[in-house]
Symmetry: C2
Subunit: 523 residues, 2 copies
């Protein structure tokens, strides 16, 4: 657990059982306003500096724990604990919402702040993701905000700053309702492939080892931020060079300092009606874990911009300088790492590129088949593009097969397409299956993980590759072996389990050896 | 532990505390003769059939244990235990010899039968391997044979079968002495790379997860088998098509049956004086663990043919049909596996191909340097060839540098060459270093592990590749970061440990952003 680092900490420690930092407003439990109070942030920083926190676990240079949750988030729990009784229970409260609102079989990548993805196969069974299966990538605890107490402040470089209630936003006389099918994707999707290729940044908010499930698709309903800005009299100077900074009620930590979750999107994006303030997810109120009562949904962007528990929007010049926007979600060239990374020498990830994944079968599966294997998966492109063609290969990417259009789900401007394919497979033994997608701008995916590895391990968009052991029953020798094993009631899988039986009799061997001219040359 | 499988086993089990199978001869402890007594082998087989033995551990489809020994060999200990009190202690006795005869810091890949390799870097510090560092790949327990009681039988298709004592063999009036520097290599060397690429055969004698150290070089002294055969009047029919079957005193198990360790080499090989009956290893008597008092050393062949604790040589037509020769050490095409492998459709590994390894640095090392990194390693080619050129690359094999001849050890006809090289490295971040060797017949190595993966996971001779994180102090940004960390007394390694400090100040960031024209385009 946490230990005190300095003697001066003792006085502060005495307060640990007090609610040192109180909730900001009635009806907003777990929301501490940091951004508006520099003196509060300074005190929190001083308190944190008196502690020695546990080091984050090493999980990149050694095998991942085979547990669920995979990672716990001890350090972040300790940060909350150190700041007094009002923050102490946030991790527990948040975990209760995981259990209540998410599917029981979620893969808990990180317990706190909660990061979780659904089991692989189920995710692509439907083009719209069930709410309980939708991935969650939170950066802090879950605030509990009453809809009746909820307000949204619009301020900064708007001509007519306003405070709006949820009822205002839902008033169709003030704002036309907008509803879109939109995929959200964490830039960490498939990060595990980058970690296994080369370890990267050991950020204190752990770079979670995501699989292929940190993507989901919902019908989101709410109002376009553009309409809300118009309602506030529009932006100063017609919006030229202006970004909209969005404030989330969750608490965020970065290098010993405390913040609310703050990110921004450019007015150019908002103007396209591609930034939605949403209160409904697939026709239901937002789950708490997904941002109830109101969140942003930014179409085609990295999920991190879709701010949850939104309480304020501020129009500013240029992108936000808050840490999540300025110091996180940067994409570095491969020669950049701990020795030379700056905030300025990585570019800021906004639009998401074309990518895809095979969700079934899964890597290392050993499959008995008759000449074809069914694959299913997803394909996505952000930034206003959509997946136009999916191709799969059974030989690591030499020969590609196009997924027939009738095996692909609906085209949406802002969403993925799920797909399936019966891939012809003649060869036996270990094969590398892979998938690549082309979007409507003819972008396709980098070839290998190595092709686009980057220090912060973001955006693993290279061709997704899995290892499959093919056992082709249509081959006579294989059919014979399978029959023999069946008669002996012995499964062939896993292939690494030794076979108790001789592979051939001495007579068969001698006969075959004679045909082959023996082991040695004739002369 | 073992459990009884059948009721009929109970009578046999009663005997477990008796020495059911006695030592063959006085002065030969732990040597049970199986090959000459079919009825003894049948009884042992019946006894083994009454037991249910523990399944071998699954270690290929999941991470390897981080222990030393890495694997224990429980099942093989149980086989010995099941056969009565005379075999029961063999695993313990063998382990005592490991502790006595091998370096304290050996990597114990498998405890019983003992498989072990030395720590990477030390192995290539000398061109001759210290006896205590030489890898060991045993297939059974270690027999304890008195030199005075020792005899070697020469029989089968020789004109004048004989029994020779060690004194006879060492009598220089009968046999000229022969001494050669010879590398022995296990065909499992670098198997871990194949396992990590694709799991393979889960043989009951575990396919040990060897690193790069299952190779060693000694000066071996003894007599040429050719001279011994001549002393026995030569072979029938002038030796045409004849192989020499060699019997080791250790006990070997295969699919529920019991054997001595038996392998063969062709007379063609013996005729070249490339098969030595050796009693000395680097001027000292053979260690027990390496075959005392007499073993075979077959130059350029897979180590498995260099039979230890040799007690009999039999001239036969064609290769041995004993399991180690006929059923093991087969090299399959990649589409062959559990579903279709036969003894006849893999070829028998005898000559070893050209191969090499980087022994320092080791994979995943993070290295601070000034523009060059020192590599050291080994290079070898079997089958009568020798390494003529070693090349290394810092970019995965696009640009190759030749290791200067003055950095390579002595050329021998039958041994490896150790080498070192200061490799120019400009790039930073994760790099793939690799090595390949050319032999005097212009053979070189397959490019990737995938290029030559095979079901039994033998002969990993592809270019050896390691992942290195390069931190080049001659780069200004890196020098600045290293200086900052030094001032704060914080190591940069491991790179996955989060850095507590901001990467740049707000002022530096703003200045740099202005130079770059901000995050967004101008218009």
């Amino acid at each position: 657990m946490t230990t005190l680092k300095t003697a001066s900490g003792i006085a502060l420690r005495g307060k640990r059982d007090d609610p040192m930092f109180k909730d900001e407003r009635p009806g907003w439990k777990g929301y501490i306003e940091w951004e508006a109070y520099p003196e509060k942030r300074k005190l929190a920083e001083e308190i944190l500096a008196t502690y020695e926190f546990d080091a984050p676990p090493e999980f990149q240079l050694c095998p991942l724990p085979d547990t669920n949750p995979i990672l716990e988030g001890v350090r972040w729990k300790q940060y909350h604990d150190a700041l007094g009784s009002n923050l102490r229970n946030i991790p527990d409260i948040s975990w209760e919402y995981v259990k209540k609102e998410k599917a029981a079989d979620m893969i808990h990548v990180l317990q706190f702040p909660y990061n979780g993805e659904p089991p692989r196969g189920r995710l692509v069974d439907t083009e719209i993701t069930r709410n309980e299966d939708h991935f969650v990538r939170n950066h802090g605890g879950i605030p509990e905000i009453d809809a009746e107490a909820y307000t949204l402040d619009i301020e900064g470089l708007v001509n007519d700053p306003k405070r709006l209630t949820l009822a205002d936003l839902q008033n169709e006389e003030l704002f036309p309702r907008q509803s879109n099918v939109v995929s959200l994707q964490c830039s960490g999707t498939r990060r595990i492939e980058q970690i296994h290729e080369y370890p990267g940044d050991g950020d204190e908010l752990i770079n979670a080892p995501w699989g292929e499930g940190a993507i989901g698709t919902s019908r989101w309903t709410g109002v376009s931020l553009k309409k809300v800005i118009k309602y506030c009299g529009g932006l100063k100077d017609g919006g030229e060079g202006i970004h909209l900074e969005m404030f989330g009620a969750d608490t965020y930590f970065k290098k010993g300092k405390v913040y609310n979750y703050v990110v921004s999107v450019p007015w150019r994006k908002v103007k396209l009606n591609e930034v939605l303030l949403a209160w409904e997810m697939n026709g239901k109120p937002l789950p708490r874990i997904h941002g109830y009562p109101l969140r942003t949904v930014v179409f085609g962007y990295i999920g991190a911009r879709s701010c949850k528990w939104l309480y304020k929007i501020k129009a500013i010049r240029g992108p936000s300088l808050a840490p999540v926007q300025m110091k996180e979600y940067l994409y570095y060239t491969p020669q950049v790492g701990k020795q030379n990374a700056l905030y300025s020498n990585g570019f800021s990830i906004q639009d998401m590129p074309v990518s895809s994944a095979i969700m079934e079968p899964v890597s290392f599966q050993q499959i008995i088949h008759d000449g074809s294997i069914r694959l299913k998966g997803w394909a996505y492109s952000g930034g206003g593009h959509w997946p136009i063609r999916v191709e799969v290969s059974s030989d690591g990417g030499s020969v590609w097969y196009e997924v027939p259009h009738e095996n692909m789900s609906t085209k949406y401007f802002y969403a993925w397409r799920t797909w399936f394919m019966d891939l012809p497979v003649d060869a036996e033994g270990w094969l590398e299956f892979c998938v690549r997608t082309w979007d409507n701008a003819l972008n396709t995916q980098p070839t290998y993980v190595r092709s686009a590895w980057n220090w912060d391990l973001h955006v693993t968009s290279s061709c997704h590759r899995i290892k499959i052991y093919s056992i082709n029953r249509s081959k006579p020798l294989t059919a014979k072996r399978l029959k023999m094993l069946e008669e002996k009631n012995t499964p062939i899988i896993p292939i690494t389990h030794p076979m108790e039986f001789d592979l051939e009799t001495q007579e068969e061997y001698d006969k075959e050896m004679e045909k082959r001219g023996g082991r040695d040359p004739l002369e």
